[in-house]
């Protein structure tokens, strides 16, 4: 069983989305031991006994710097891809607290947005980096 099935259908956490089912779009990204894995192709056995964080658990009050920036910039249009976008951006900012546009592109190129909100995503990640550096979220 894919991890995504366990998260959505067994546990009932539906913030993580099903997009393509073949690791091509990024809508299903969750953190497995801190890495932005695609839960649609990750067997649940790989996650057994490991730490899994979904969009619901990224912060206590939806106040992770990335989430705050996303709200501030009003990034989503339809919103379907954005839990995956946010989970990927959170890994980027953990590993690179001050990313350039090029770093953002390298980190986010696997997350597709059918509404084309890429410019706002990039802007929000820069803002999130500032918020993170100021200790705000």
């Amino acid at each position: 069983m894919p991890l995504l099935w366990a998260i959505r259908d067994v546990i009932g956490l539906t913030g993580t989305k099903y997009g393509c089912g073949v690791a091509q779009c990024g809508a299903c990204v969750v953190h497995l031991n801190g890495e932005a894995v695609r839960s649609c192709v990750t067997k649940v056995s790989r996650a057994e006994g490991q730490k899994v964080v979904t969009i619901e658990g990224l912060s206590g009050n939806n106040d992770h710097p990335v989430q705050t920036a996303w709200q501030e910039i009003d990034v989503p249009q339809c919103g379907y891809c954005h839990s995956g976008q946010i989970m990927s951006a959170a890994v980027l900012l953990r590993e690179n607290p001050n990313p350039s546009d090029e770093d953002i592109d390298a980190a986010m190129s696997g997350n597709i947005c059918r509404c084309g909100t890429y410019l706002r995503i990039r802007k929000a990640i820069h803002l999130a980096a500032e918020l993170q550096q100021k200790g705000k979220g």
Binding site: A23, E35, A36, V37, R38, T42, G110
Partner: protein, 216 residues
């Protein structure tokens, strides 16, 4: 005299008997050991023969090896740039994942985020291996665009081959990620010969001296 003769006779008999017995012993023991000795000698000769440098056989074997190394299953992860290749036509990998310092990707785009420990079922889904990666940034081990001459030179040079010794190179033919080329997942071709044939050519090339085909 008689005594002497008798002594000689007595002396001569045991010598003959010893000689006969010795011959019998050698025949009897030889029945068990001679074939083994012969086999050892043959193996030993074969081993020294297989390690004997031979530029013609070595180059001939490398040209077979080259066909495999330039197949999409090998070359796609040995690109000239920092983005892996993909598909039978070796196009740039969708999503442009980057090599990264250790060859395992960057940030949210690490190889193992999509490539699982084994092939994901289904057509054109991510192939898998527990250690999926490109060569690291400090030694890219590029196959793409290399001529047979260039690639053979590169593979035999420890400063360009991942610091592998001759023995490590020989063992590399059975590396798990190399073997994965013959289990590529649905919709992908395998290299143009069996792993057994590749391994034989690889060993011949190296053991015969690791010679490079002439520069073109």
């Amino acid at each position: 005299m008689t005594e002497h003769s008798g002594n000689k006779t007595r002396y001569a008999l045991p010598v003959s008997m010893v000689a006969v017995l010795g011959l019998m012993v050698s025949i009897l023991t030889g029945m068990g050991s001679a074939p083994m000795d012969l086999r050892d000698a043959t193996d030993s000769e074969a081993r020294s023969e297989s390690y004997k440098k031979d530029s013609i056989q070595s180059v001939k074997a490398f040209l077979e090896v080259y066909k495999v190394l330039m197949s999409p299953r090998c070359m796609n992860c040995h690109p000239a740039g920092d983005v892996p290749l993909q598909g039978e036509d070796s196009h740039l990998h969708a999503m442009s994942p980057q090599r990264g310092k250790d060859g395992k990707g960057v940030f949210a785009m690490k190889c193992s985020n999509c490539h699982q420990a084994s092939n994901t079922p289904g057509l054109h889904t991510p192939p898998g291996h527990p250690d999926w990666h490109l060569p690291p940034a400090d030694m890219k081990m590029v196959f793409e665009g290399r001529t047979p001459h260039q690639l053979a030179k590169q593979l035999m040079d420890p400063n360009q081959n991942g610091r592998k010794t001759k023995e490590q190179l020989l063992a590399h033919a059975n590396d798990g990620l190399v073997l994965a080329a013959w289990n590529p997942g649905e919709g992908r071709s395998t290299p143009p010969m069996s792993h057994e044939a590749f391994s034989k050519a690889w060993n011949t090339w190296i053991k015969k001296g690791g010679f490079a085909p002439p520069a073109q």
